[in-house]
């Protein structure tokens, strides 16, 4: 009988538990990085006692430095901004912008109350119509007041995703075709080269005219302004996906193609089983770029065409020229930036989820 040192055994078990614990942390770390929270894992590890000095160095790099740079930015902003005096007063600093952000939230709550009142009135009206025997005239009518700031954000997000989905639905199949067949590639290439650099502001008048002509009734599923913005987004965000997809498909391993020949795969199976999986990382890179482009384009399109959304908010405030306008525009700029960042993260998360690349 070998006497086992109980202390040693306990230590061993502790070691094993720690190992499991760390595996879990490492696994979670992949997801934290996707969400842009890469600093959490080293922090936990440091707390768990794994090389605290090294881990804290990571925490400093992943959390401390970014925070410090934000603080430096805010300090520069608040000292430099008051020095630029425009016709609307000095450029607002961070404090004024924060006050205005709270003001916008307050505006939104006031508007929600108004909307509740409106809905109440509408219900009353409909009830009266029913009582008067005119039930056929009862209608559900959307609130007619001006949208809240949150409403504008939501409109922009819906529009960008709608345009982006149409763009993807067009770009991925075309990209696959161009990647598989040199003939298709030769046909598409000049069009890509010519249309890719076109600015959204040039597309907009054409899209507006075409939508007005084709979508004559304005009481369909979508409003005209929504379609105009979304289609402009489509036209501009098509290209990165298209180019990356064709590149990804074209650079598929030759051996795999040979295997598909040996197995006598039909085209459909070949695309779904071989081409797509191996091209997926590049397709996703294209999609991420497309969504980023789409978001930028959307704001410009909304500003120019006065279509509802964040772009219109910015333009309206520019035109208002009140003493709060500049601060409100800066709130919108920060919102646009943060949402753009979040959209990119969403795409990155989807990429990590669907592909088996080393990036995971």
């Amino acid at each position: 009988m070998t006497a086992v040192d109980p202390a040693h055994l306990a230590a061993k078990q502790r070691e094993a538990r720690r190992a499991i614990w760390f595996t879990r942390i490492n696994k979670a770390d992949a997801w934290f990085s996707v969400l842009g929270l890469a600093w959490i894992a080293p922090l936990i590890k440091a707390l768990a006692g794994d090389n605290p000095r090294g881990q804290l160095k990571d925490v400093w790099r992943l959390l401390g430095v970014p925070l410090l740079s934000i603080v430096v930015f805010l300090m520069l902003w608040s000292t430099l901004a008051p020095k630029v005096v425009t016709s609307l007063g000095a450029i607002p600093g961070p404090v004024a912008v924060w006050t205005e952000a709270k003001g916008l939230h307050h505006d939104a709550t006031v508007k929600w109350e108004k909307q509740a009142k409106f809905d109440e009135r509408l219900e009353q009206r409909n009830q009266r119509l029913i009582d008067a025997g005119r039930a056929s005239e009862v209608k559900d009518i959307a609130y007619t007041g001006s949208p809240t700031y949150y409403g504008q954000i939501w409109t922009s997000i819906k529009t960008v995703f709608f345009g982006f989905l149409i763009a993807s639905a067009i770009a991925i199949p075309l990209g696959i075709a161009a990647g598989l067949s040199p003939t298709a590639n030769a046909a598409l290439n000049p069009l890509i080269q010519i249309f890719k650099p076109v600015s959204p502001l040039a597309w907009l008048p054409i899209v507006t005219m075409v939508v007005s002509a084709v979508y004559a009734t304005n009481d369909g599923l979508f409003s005209k302004s929504f379609l105009v913005s979304a289609i402009t987004v489509t036209l501009c965000s098509l290209w990165p996906t298209l180019i990356n997809t064709s590149l990804g498909v074209a650079s598929i391993d030759r051996d795999l193609i040979s295997v598909s020949r040996v197995l006598k795969m039909n085209t459909y199976t070949k695309i779904t089983k071989l081409v797509l999986p191996s091209a997926l990382p590049l397709i996703f890179t294209g999609l991420r770029l497309s969504l980023g482009v789409g978001w930028m384009v959307l704001i410009a399109a909304e500003m120019l065409a006065q279509n509802p959304g964040l772009g219109k908010f910015v333009w309206d405030e520019f035109q208002n020229g009140s003493s709060q306008s500049l601060a409100r525009i800066i709130v919108a700029v920060l919102t646009i930036g943060i949402i753009g960042f979040l959209l990119d993260r969403v795409m990155f998360a989807m990429q990590s989820f669907f592909t088996f690349s080393a990036q995971r």
Binding site: S87, L88, A116, K117, R125, T144
Partner: protein, 450 residues
């Protein structure tokens, strides 16, 4: 409890004659466009005071980027109607610019504009302006005080640029009127040259209203003609000085109109009457009890979704005063007229005046006889719709019989010479004779050519 209060409130608001006499509406969800200017007030008031809802109309108001976008919106059907420059429905109907038959059952206001010059130009003009006994510049200021300044620019080989909001805008014609009355040529249009700068002493170009102060500040233009609050904004921001209001140019001149397409008016006759009723009520509210409601109107207009400028800037003109040079505040009780003096009635003579100005500067390139002016005015201005709406309001007890010109033939009494800055009287029934009486501009038989 809250819900109970709301429903009580709603039922009181909806009870009474409003619904009982509600017209059989062809279309009850409407979108109207407007430009951020104080004279869109009837629209904001009709919305905020619930006059549209009283008529069963569910209206959405949308600010537009500029007059071109707004006009295209109405023609393309994205907008059911809009706050328009009086020249827009006329020009569209006769096919100058975009061709479309647009009509107006409601004139939105009288006066409300001003001409502003930059501080630098003002300093150069000031020596040419006689002063009152108290040392202040004597108003109205003629463009003849600007003439030496423009000549000094010409001598230095620099263009003298001024901004207006749209080629067929009131502001373009008012600025041209003022310049011409002071002996300066604002330039002509022709079918080949639509810049409007043929033979011009002063080069006029288009800038959207809210951008005027910024453009002046940037030095792109030396002055501009625009509606409120963008003249007072220049004073507040200390970048320019309003030299004259349109009230001093032509006392109680017609301004904006509410425009809808002819097709909309034909397809939705009851809706058209209902929206006209709501707008007339709003105009009455804006002027009643000697402008008693103006402070409240200023608060409504200052909200970001309407004009959005600071309250004190909007109040400067809306409450009956006007600040010229900083500190020089004068009473102009009729600066903004929304209902008095039959402001809301769409007079043919107002339309004819705009047509004479299009003819005077060559936008209408060929000579036209007096009958043509009358016919065109009648196809755009629709007092028949206006009077039907007014009759309903009187019957409902919401307006008084005496406030409307029931028996008018659609022409205002001729404007006497004393009411116009250059002392040239205007009679809407004799447009060609009027054209011949203006010293600068195309004569009645003179075609435009570049």
């Amino acid at each position: 409890m809250k819900k109970l209060v709301f429903s009580l409130l709603a039922s009181t608001l909806l009870s009474g004659p409003a619904l009982a006499q509600m017209l059989d509406l062809e279309k009850d969800e409407l979108t109207f466009g407007f430009i951020k200017l104080t004279d869109m007030a009837p629209l904001a008031v009709a919305y905020e005071n619930g006059y549209f809802l009283d008529e069963g109309l569910f209206v959405t108001l949308e600010a537009q980027a500029n007059w071109k976008v707004l006009l295209d919106g109405v023609i393309g059907g994205q907008l059911d109607g809009a706050h328009m420059l009086a020249g827009q429905p006329l020009a569209a109907t006769i096919g100058y610019g975009t061709q479309a038959h647009i009509v107006t059952p409601f004139s939105m206001d009288l006066n409300g504009n001003g001409i502003t010059v930059s501080n630098e130009v003002w300093a150069q003009m000031k020596p040419n302006i006689p002063t009152d006994t108290d040392g202040k510049p004597q108003h109205p200021i003629s463009a003849s005080a600007l003439k030496p300044v423009v000549e000094s620019y010409q001598a230095a080989g620099k263009p003298f640029n001024m901004g207006m909001v749209f080629p067929v805008s009131t502001h373009n014609y008012e600025l041209r009127y003022w310049l011409a009355a002071g002996g300066l040529n604002p330039g002509f249009y022709s079918p080949d040259d639509t810049s409007g700068q043929i033979g011009a002493d002063v080069a006029l170009s288009v800038t959207p209203p809210p951008q005027m102060p910024a453009t002046l500040e940037a030095g792109t233009i030396n002055g501009y003609s625009v509606g409120e609050p963008w003249n007072q904004q220049a004073v507040v921001k200390d970048i320019g000085v309003p030299v004259i209001t349109d009230y001093e140019l032509w006392k109680n001149n017609p301004e904006k109109v509410f425009g809808i397409t002819e097709a909309f008016a034909t397809e939705n006759p009851n809706t058209t009457i209902a929206l006209t009723k709501a707008l007339i009520r709003a105009a009455i509210w804006l002027d009643e009890n000697d402008n008693a409601n103006r402070a409240e109107a200023v608060e409504i207009l200052s909200r970001p979704e309407y004009v959005g400028a600071d309250q004190d800037v909007i109040a400067a003109s809306m409450t009956g005063t006007f600040e010229y040079e900083k500190g020089d505040i004068r009473d102009v009780p009729d600066f903004n007229v929304f209902f008095r003096y039959n402001a809301t009635y769409p007079f043919y003579s107002d339309a004819v005046w705009y047509l004479t100005q299009m003819r005077r500067w060559g936008q209408i390139s060929e000579p036209r006889d007096d009958a043509w002016f009358d016919k065109t005015a009648r196809s755009v201005y629709r007092p028949d719709i206006y009077l039907r709406a007014a009759r309903l309001l009187v019957d409902e007890g919401l307006a008084s019989e005496a406030d409307f010109p029931w028996d008018s033939d659609g022409y205002r009494a001729p404007t006497p010479a004393a009411d116009v800055i250059d002392g040239i009287p205007y009679d809407g029934k004799a447009p060609n004779a009027y054209l011949d009486s203006l010293p600068i501009g195309l004569k009645s038989d003179e075609p435009a050519n570049g």
